[in-house]
């Protein structure tokens, strides 16, 4: 009889596992699923733009080029883990975009070469090999519209490659590095030039942060560096949410970011915080 009960235990446990699970909220991040073609798919409920687009939006706010504020390419060899490399690839992508959009062709070429080298270390070498993307980018660096098309091709190739490699967690890490670097550059330029359009652009860019955090949350068990990054970005989000302008915005759901102008100096603590996060990223 004892044997019978012992045998029943796993059956009962299994039944419990198989019983209807609590309903996942709509839009919630899902579990890992396998997809034909050996592609693992973890679902996220957000979609992130390209790093180049973030830089382009800052350019529209009349963000000037200031030499010396981007991150030196000679430091690329300091990074070794997949997490560090993905983050620094994002940083260099943003620096490349900032240089290219400001017609700094030599700088842009140096950053492109570095992005490619760092990408090779995280198994993204195929991205630039396809359709001569590297050569096309190099050849068209002074033509903004052509560069936009080539960047779109690079982004598409990157997305496909990350999926093929089952490295989808890297996109949020790369993008967060690029986003922080673009925000850092804008903050530094603002501190030196005081262009209030840049502050407004910084304010509006904060709308993307929740999506970045959501993307990282979905993959937080895939890399041990992700939880720490989420913590830093969540702290930035909390600081942003506490701003008087943002509180006002949140109280009126019909309003959007563009309906609110941050008061002079209101964004300064955030700019400082972004600088701190950037310092952590480049420290590796």
């Amino acid at each position: 009889m004892k044997l019978f009960y012992a045998a029943l235990v796993p059956v009962v446990l299994l039944s419990a596992c198989g019983s209807e699970t609590p309903e996942t909220p709509a839009g919630d991040t899902g579990k890992a699923d396998s997809v034909a073609g050996t592609v693992e798919l973890i679902e996220t409920n957000s979609s992130l733009p390209t790093p180049f687009r973030v830089a382009a939006m800052f350019k529209r706010s009349e963000l000037n080029y200031l030499p010396g504020i981007t991150y030196g390419t000679e430091k690329a060899s300091m990074y070794s883990t997949k997490f560090q490399l993905a983050q620094i690839m994002g940083v260099y992508s943003a620096d490349m975009a900032y240089s290219v959009l400001n017609k700094q062709t030599n700088e842009g070429q140096k950053y492109l070469k570095t992005v490619r080298e760092v990408g090779n270390k995280i198994n993204l070498s195929k991205v630039f090999d396809q359709s001569n993307l590297y050569d096309r980018f190099n050849a068209n660096m002074d033509k903004e519209d052509s560069i936009g098309s080539i960047v779109a091709d690079i982004q598409y190739a990157t997305d496909l490659q990350l999926e093929e490699n089952q490295q989808n967690e890297l996109y949020g890490i790369i993008f967060s590095g690029a986003w922080i670097e673009s925000m850092y550059i804008a903050g530094e330029v603002y501190k030196k030039e005081g262009n209030e359009n840049v502050v407004q652009a910084l304010f509006e860019q904060m709308a993307v942060l929740k999506s970045i955090i959501a993307e990282l949350e979905a993959y937080k068990t895939k890399d041990q560096g992700i939880p720490g990054l989420i913590e830093q970005l969540s702290s930035l989000q909390a600081e942003f949410d506490a701003l008087p302008s943002v509180k006002k915005l949140n109280e009126q759901p019909d309003m959007d970011f563009s309906d609110v102008k941050p008061a002079k100096g209101e964004m300064d603590p955030l700019i400082k915080k972004i600088g701190e996060i950037r310092a952590t990223i480049v420290k590796g």
């Binding site: 044997l3 019978f4 045998a7 029943l8 235990v9 796993p10 059956v11 299994l14 198989g18 709509a26 839009g27 899902g30 699923d33 396998s34 997809v35 034909a36 073609g37 592609v39 798919l41 679902e43 996220t44 409920n45 957000s46 979609s47 992130l48 733009p49 390209t50 687009r53 939006m57 936009g148 098309s149 960047v151 779109a152 091709d153 982004q155 598409y156 997305d159 496909l160 999926e163 093929e164 509006e204 709308a207 993307v208 929740k210 999506s211 959501a214 759901p253 959007d256 970011f257 563009s258």
Partner: protein
């Protein structure tokens, strides 16, 4: 005889577990050619440039469900959205909203309900992009034995 009985009692739950695990594995195996779906969607983006793409698994249950994707965009930009439903066999309704599902009085900006019957590649160009769009997939209740999961591709392009 007693040994055989004992073996059967012990083996039975093990077999049940194995069968159940195999069933779970079958349930998770979603056949979906992401590259082909994305390539077809990307072709429809032209002349817009690729911004981002997302494959969403639609896992049907015996009750209706909704999945929502948040799409950050930039003010004043022109965008095109493409949805590839080539591998979707169920009556999944896609809608684009200006606000998320928690917001009262949100506006539906586009819905696949208005697409011609049989449309597999849906195209929508939103006007007056603000900061975010919200894409909702409304999944019907499913009680038949057809595949319990399918894929839909969303792609965003900009000009």
């Amino acid at each position: 005889m007693k040994t055989t009985k004992r073996f059967l009692i012990l083996a039975l739950p093990v077999m049940v577990i194995l069968v159940a695990l195999m069933g779970a594995a079958v349930e998770q195996a979603v056949t979906c050619d992401q590259k082909a779906l994305k390539d077809a969607a990307r072709a429809k983006l032209d002349p817009f440039k690729y911004d981002s793409g997302k494959v969403t698994q639609l896992r049907y249950k015996n009750k209706p469900q909704m999945k929502e994707i948040e799409v950050p965009v930039f003010v004043g930009e022109k965008y095109r959205m493409v949805f590839n439903t080539e591998e979707v066999t169920r009556n999944v309704v896609i809608s684009v909203y200006n606000k998320d599902k928690e917001t009262k009085n949100r506006k539906v900006l586009w819905t696949s309900k208005n697409s011609p019957a049989g449309t597999k590649l849906h195209v929508f160009e939103p006007e007056n992009a603000k900061f975010k769009f919200f894409v909702d997939y409304d999944l019907p209740a499913v009680t038949d034995s057809l595949p319990a999961a399918e894929c839909v591709v969303f792609m965003l392009g900009y000009k």
